[in-house]
Point group: C2
Chain length 323, copies 2
Amino acid sequence: MEKIKQLQQDFAEFMTQIDFGGQPKELYEPIAYTMLQRGKRLRPMLCLLANEMFDGDKQEALWSALALETLHNFTLIHDDIMDQAPLRRGKETVYQKWSPNIAILSGDAMLTMALQFALKPKNGMHIAGLLGKVAREVCEGQQLDLNYETLSDVTIDGYLEMIRLKTAVLLATSLQMGATVANANEADIQLLYDFGINIGMSFQLQDDILDLYSDVETFGKRHGGDIADNKKTYLYLKALELASEKDRKRLEYLFTLRIDHDEEEKIEEVKAIYDRLNVKEVVEKVIAEYDCKAMQALDSINLPDERKAHLRTYATSLTGRKK
Amino acid sequence: MEKIKQLQQDFAEFMTQIDFGGQPKELYEPIAYTMLQRGKRLRPMLCLLANEMFDGDKQEALWSALALETLHNFTLIHDDIMDQAPLRRGKETVYQKWSPNIAILSGDAMLTMALQFALKPKNGMHIAGLLGKVAREVCEGQQLDLNYETLSDVTIDGYLEMIRLKTAVLLATSLQMGATVANANEADIQLLYDFGINIGMSFQLQDDILDLYSDVETFGKRHGGDIADNKKTYLYLKALELASEKDRKRLEYLFTLRIDHDEEEKIEEVKAIYDRLNVKEVVEKVIAEYDCKAMQALDSINLPDERKAHLRTYATSLTGRKK
């Protein structure tokens, strides 16, 4: 993935020209702390790859990429307050390191900065419009996620809608922005957007599986964290659907237990039920369907195959990660 | 103020065409609750008056007015979480009525909606740019306000900068947006902005005085609330500057007391010190200077006097309120 390394470097260099400082420092230090952490830069990469695919101006695309990364980081800062999460990417969250009030306010400033960055490209009006739309959707997705924490009858369709809004639309919009900056035609942009939605759904469902079935050291998170937190993931909802009356009642009971219970034992028991019902395989089949739809959309874009190669490789590396 | 009544009605009618509903309802109900409360609509009024002054298109200006009102309401929702305020305009705050998490998320969605509204006028790129700038400044002002709660050596200049960012810039930007939508020339827009800054400073300092010296029933807030809350207002900072060593120490001590102390007694004692030092008169002189600068700026705008009449009357009604 030479191409990705190069784009990551381009983006990192571009970031060095941006002033994340400012006064009062209590507002801007958490912003610099968040923005300057090294990460995959997934959304900027999708934006830049889409832009290159349509031979767009890189400088223009970099502003969109920065807007997307800033928007994404804003959501993390506010989500971490709501989830009372102490750590993010192995470092203290803003909420934890400073305070909830500072996290609220720094997040607000970042959402505003995302807008300001989105207005920079020549067709900034269009790009800012896309940013506004996706920001609304991400808020809606986060609200659904909060609702589902206390809702007892979450449906699989409801869960899919939540991850679509919370994760997939931002990946799809990243591609859309890159292609829009490059003045691609509407039909191709729509296909790219569909590709992004399907990749996003696949990516998130993959995450649900990895949380329980990954090689812990490589994945870098605690094993079975979703089960310990009683998160109603696709695995859980599918298991409820497939389970016998007895297993279903047991699962529902286990998902009411809080951390004072023996966590390891609970995770093992839930995993045993999942395994008996083959839910991992069922979810993998659903993921394969999303991957297939994604590739169909990419294939339909009116460009020679070689122009799509980098994006195809990158997307496969994202959805195909086995650890 | 026939004109203001008419514009308030225009704005109210315009608002009825906006859909503040949406799904999930947990996200949108607090937004409708906040936006549909009847209020002075100060920022929309300034925007619409400035627009009329330069004979702009009202429909275009209404979108800017709505963006400003939405931005303002977003700041209130998030500020109320930070201040743990139970009431706002006599009704439960969103934070109190729903939850802090919902208040964070509804506020985020409102900031995004403000951007979306700002993009509606023909020169939406320019209007959204102004919105982004002022949103950043308001965040900075709120952060300074949070800093000053715990900072022991707040200066008068620091306080003035805080109220400039927290209050004055949004009033100034409201006028600026209205004139920008009307394609006024840059020099006049700058004068109008300066007018707004000075009106805003006057308005906020007036508020500091009214908090202690107003007719309680008319002002509608508890008397001396700022003193009870140990808020370092201009009155307090000026008193510290003018006070004898003994009075200064006493004031500083009184401003460390929390609510378990006899509130009435504390307010009376502080007020007695203020009165002895004539701080009310000193602040009134500062206010008069801001009012004077405001009117100079308005006078310099290159338009016949009759076109400025409504704005002049409205501004005078704002800064001249004695209760």
